[in-house]
């Protein structure tokens, strides 16, 4: 038998096919599912369909049984609660827009889960992410590229991977389209072929993140003023937990033209809104950096910068301005830059790196 590989199985079609492909490639495959959410009452369990819920465990176990591989549920509840849920709530409460999937990858999936995989004697951890890994022997670096299926590409949530993690990972689906993956699932009789896509945030019910945050951080559910750029009060918001940068609807404003949230001022518990033509910003400062083809950015470089999971990358210049900080200046001003979200730098389909958006600037 080949090298031992642990595959993270969520019960969904992607990770099931990833496991199947590895088995077919001759690896000795072990399936695992992360248990991340506290045990729930049965009625709540039934309502929730999150990627690592009990239902998901049952689906993943069925998939593993079908493939004839050992399967384990690993308890990562404590670390998930501390590193993902608490971070998510604290970021919203601070008026920022968190990305919990990146936090999960960075602090849970590719840290303790990877460690547990290695403890199981595996050489690598595999996941069903749509991204491609590549080794550059000339520079001795492991590289990350976008998945072949551009619409499903998940490299954005993987920018934070370090070399010591990348060399221990496998993304078997990076070279396939979602359609191909669905066909492969059907062809193999995997029981998950027709399942709906995972919800937006796996631990938030009905995608109602506002209510989720408000229940855990009541301060983020205090009504406050909605102001325009000149500081005039235009209305009242329900609480910062319910709002994000770029939002237009649901503000309850009666203005003659659409107004967008351009800033969340947690110190004043205020939302700042502006008409469409005033929402664009020249650039941003990005911190908490990780680079993949090299360790640090030495000088200015051109890159395509993506500021949300589903956003189009935009051409920009990035240059180091501090120890762990770069300035990103877009070739053309950008809308809806949300502090707290990740900015990921690309050159074509190659991931250069990324960081967390800290500050937005004009001019």
């Amino acid at each position: 038998m080949g090298e031992r590989v642990v595959v993270a199985m969520s019960g969904g079609v992607d990770s099931s096919v990833a496991a199947a492909l590895l088995v077919e490639q001759g690896y000795e495959v072990i399936g695992v599912t992360m248990q991340i959410w506290p045990e729930l009452a049965p009625e709540e369990e039934a309502r929730r369909g999150g990627c690592c819920s009990l239902g998901a465990v049952e689906d993943a176990r069925r998939g593993a049984d079908l493939l004839g591989i050992p399967y384990y549920v690993l308890n990562l509840r404590e670390v998930f609660a501390a590193e993902v849920v608490d971070y998510f709530v604290a970021e919203y409460a601070a008026g920022r827009t968190p990305n919990p999937c990146i936090a999960c990858n960075r602090r849970v999936k590719f840290e303790p889960l990877l460690r547990k995989a290695l403890e199981l004697g595996a050489a690598r951890l595999a996941t069903g992410h749509y991204a491609r890994l590549e080794y550059d022997p000339a520079r001795g670096r492991h590289l990350l590229r976008r998945g072949v299926d551009r619409r499903k590409d998940q490299s954005y949530v993987l920018y934070c991977l370090r070399q010591d993690q990348l060399r221990r990972l496998l993304f078997p689906l990076g070279g396939y389209t979602k359609e191909e993956v669905r066909r492969m699932a059907a062809a193999r009789g995997l029981p998950v072929a027709g399942k709906p896509e995972s919800q937006e945030i796996c631990f938030v019910e009905d995608d109602d993140h506002g209510r989720f945050v408000a229940e855990r951080a009541p301060g983020a559910a205090r009504p406050g003023p909605i102001l325009d750029a000149a500081g005039r009060r235009l209305g009242t918001h329900r609480g910062l937990a319910f709002d994000t940068i770029g939002q237009r609807r649901g503000l309850g404003l009666a203005a003659d033209r659409p107004l967008y949230v351009v800033e969340i001022d947690a110190a004043r518990n205020a939302l700042i809104v502006a008409p469409e033509e005033e929402t664009r910003r020249a650039g941003m400062l990005v911190r908490d950096l990780n680079f993949i083809p090299f360790d640090r950015l030495e000088g200015e470089m051109a890159a395509d910068v993506q500021i949300r999971y589903k956003a189009e990358p935009r051409p920009a210049r990035i240059r180091p301005v501090g120890e762990d900080e770069v300035e990103v200046r877009f070739d053309a001003p950008q809308r809806s830059i949300a502090p707290g979200q990740a900015a990921v730098f690309y050159r074509g389909d190659l991931v250069i790196g990324g960081g967390v958006i800290d500050n937005v600037f004009d001019g």
Partner: protein, 392 residues
């Protein structure tokens, strides 16, 4: 692969004689014990024979045995049934911090939904309840005390005789969850002085889905389910005749072979412990050194996650445990070890080996061969050196 089963505290393989009796019962004794015809009478006879066998195992009278679906139901019937039946006398229930969740959750339900006050007695570092703690906790309102006979995670045996006498003197009923003890160590309900006692067939080579509650004559319980007169109205429903027959045969065999089985597993346990102490550095033994089940060994491998060891053992075909498995099969830090005050490193590194009648010296040798390199490798990884080997 030489597969080794060292998880008899979770469940045991069915004894061939038990399986045979059950198969015969399934094939031939299919009547409903409540029916008046010959088929029914035969089934009734099988159930009553089993009742005698179970009663004999614990020194009870047959009419004091109520068959249930297992230990969890027996515990629930005892705790909820006794508390509810005695609601007019008081609203206080006492239990211990190391009980099985069948008892703890039933008590929590009484506290959360039915207006009872529940006192949870602490335990010492070996997992034992201090009788003085019980004395202090008892009030005129106390209607029930529930303390387990032997702990399922560390094997510590409680001073039940003393605890039951204290409860009785204060006018409270005494229940003991003997799921992990009955069939393994001598149990006599009169000598112990308990009013209620739960047991489960699959912990002593009987089938899953069959258990019993001993209910001392004169003790009143409120049933959990309604719908017929079976089991003195305490457990209505057509009895699980093959399961009960299997429980009966398992009880009979356990009674007859108890000393022999205990000596066998005790010897293997000593060998296992000696081997581990010799080959695995930084190992702590959990539980009481003397007052314990003969075949159970709980140790903490310091500096390593018990879960990682277990999974590596499983990949080598060796079955052990790190405490109670939750519904989804992942491990949680044990409430028992926490109550015993173990330090975090000992808590996370806990492993339970529970031996049974089928284990051999070769099984122990196999574990002693496989475990030390796993621990070494995991410790090396935890120290940050030692590249993970491609093959474990």
């Amino acid at each position: 692969m030489h597969r080794v089963y060292l998880d008899h505290a979770a469940t045991t393989p069915v004894h061939p004689a038990v399986a045979e009796a059950m198969a015969r019962c399934l094939a031939e004794t299919y009547g409903n014990p409540s029916s008046i015809h010959g088929f029914g009478r035969e089934a009734k006879k099988a159930v009553e024979a089993a009742r005698e066998q179970v009663a004999a195992l614990i020194g009870a009278r047959p009419q004091e045995i109520v068959f249930t679906s297992g230990g969890t139901e027996a515990d629930n019937l005892a705790v909820l049934g006794a508390a509810r039946a005695r609601r007019d006398r008081g609203n206080h229930v006492i239990t211990s911090a190391v009980e099985h969740h069948a008892v703890l959750d039933a008590c929590e339900h009484l506290a959360g939904r039915e207006g009872f006050r529940v006192t949870v007695l602490p335990v010492d570092g070996a997992g034992r309840v201090d009788p003085d703690e019980l004395r202090r906790a008892l009030t005129p309102e106390t209607v029930l005390v529930s303390v387990m006979l032997a702990n399922n995670e560390v094997g510590t045996v409680q001073p039940i005789r003393e605890l039951a006498a204290i409860a009785k003197a204060a006018g409270a009923l005494f229940h003991t969850d003997a799921v992990q003890g009955a069939g393994q160590i001598p149990v006599d309900v009169d000598a112990l002085g308990v009013d209620l006692l739960s047991l489960s067939a699959h912990k002593f080579y009987g089938p899953k889905g069959a258990g019993a509650l001993y209910v001392r004559k004169g003790v009143r319980l409120q049933p959990l389910v309604h719908g017929g007169g079976q089991e003195r109205r305490l457990r209505p429903g057509t009895p699980n005749v093959p399961g009960i027959a299997g429980l009966g045969v398992a009880a009979e065999l356990a009674r007859r072979e108890m000393a022999e089985r205990a000596a066998h597993v005790a010897r293997l346990r000593e060998r296992l412990l000696a081997g581990l102490l010799e080959r695995v550095p930084d190992l702590a033994v959990n539980g009481h050194p003397e007052e314990r089940l003969p075949g159970l060994l709980n140790v903490s491998v310091l500096g390593v996650e018990g879960e990682s060891i277990l999974l590596n053992l499983d990949l080598k075909g060796i079955a052990a445990s790190s405490g109670s498995a939750c519904a989804a099969g992942s491990t949680e830090p044990s409430h028992v070890l926490k109550a015993m005050g173990l330090a975090p490193a000992a808590l996370h590194g806990a492993l339970r080996f529970s031996l049974g009648r089928g284990n051999t010296d070769a099984d122990v040798d196999r574990l002693l061969e496989v475990l030390p390199p796993i621990v070494e490798r995991l410790r090396a990884m935890a120290r940050g050196c030692g590249e993970p080997a491609g093959r474990a």
